[in-house]
Symmetry: C2
DNA sequence: TTCGTATTTCGTAAAAATACGAAACAAAGG
DNA sequence: CCTTTGTTTCGTATTTTTACGAAATACGAA
């Protein structure tokens, strides 16, 4: 991590961008940002992928910090991680605003 | 492409996001958006990777439509693709603004 | 306790991304 | 023509991503 070339911001931005780098994850995020929270099963109905694959995508979004899941047995409720979502929004905004 | 789940916007957003999903590419884009255009060799000095690897990253950004290169022998001048950059900015903005 | 529901983890396979150095290329200058 | 310069393409190796179905887990209800 002792890299003088990439700053923490570069790395975080890349991390968030990568998490959004698949249409399924974009759709998941879009659904979550519109209707607050969702259960994995509800998401499964809106996506053309196996539930295990959906679970993997959810894990990636979670690892990147964009979403969080709270257990609500026997289901798991996924919501945006608002704090990180705000950070990501800010990082992207700064990048896009920096043009001449 | 006949997928009723992912819209064209989801796919384009994912494409742009994926292109930004590596710190080297974030840095490249940041440099380009700040100082209009750059030569590949100049970028090489700011990045901790081999020139051939840089060339690959530039190709990916070009394939995603975020940058364009114009030949200026014996060098190649890379610039942002402004139209697509605007589109990407708009797509991200819409995504981030759609929260409750 | 056994069953049913919701979801994840495991095992695995195939494809894509990342990286490097060597070689190729294209154009200008000697 | 030969060399130098800037850059890309090729060949290759390693790692990561994407995807699926089967099995495991966790919990409430019967």
């Amino acid at each position: 991590m002792e890299n003088t070339y990439y700053t923490a911001k570069h790395q975080r931005l890349a991390r968030y961008a990568k998490a959004l780098g698949h249409p399924a994850r974009v759709l998941i995020i879009e659904l979550l940002s519109r209707q607050s929270c969702c259960y994995s099963g509800d998401l499964a109905n809106d996506l053309p992928i196996a539930r295990s694959t959906l679970s993997q995508h959810l894990s990636e979004l979670k690892d990147a910090g964009l979403i969080q899941g709270e257990i609500n047995p026997p289901r798991i409720r996924y919501c945006l991680n608002r704090a990180n979502w705000e950070e990501a929004a800010q990082l992207f905004k700064t990048l896009f605003d920096s043009q001449l």
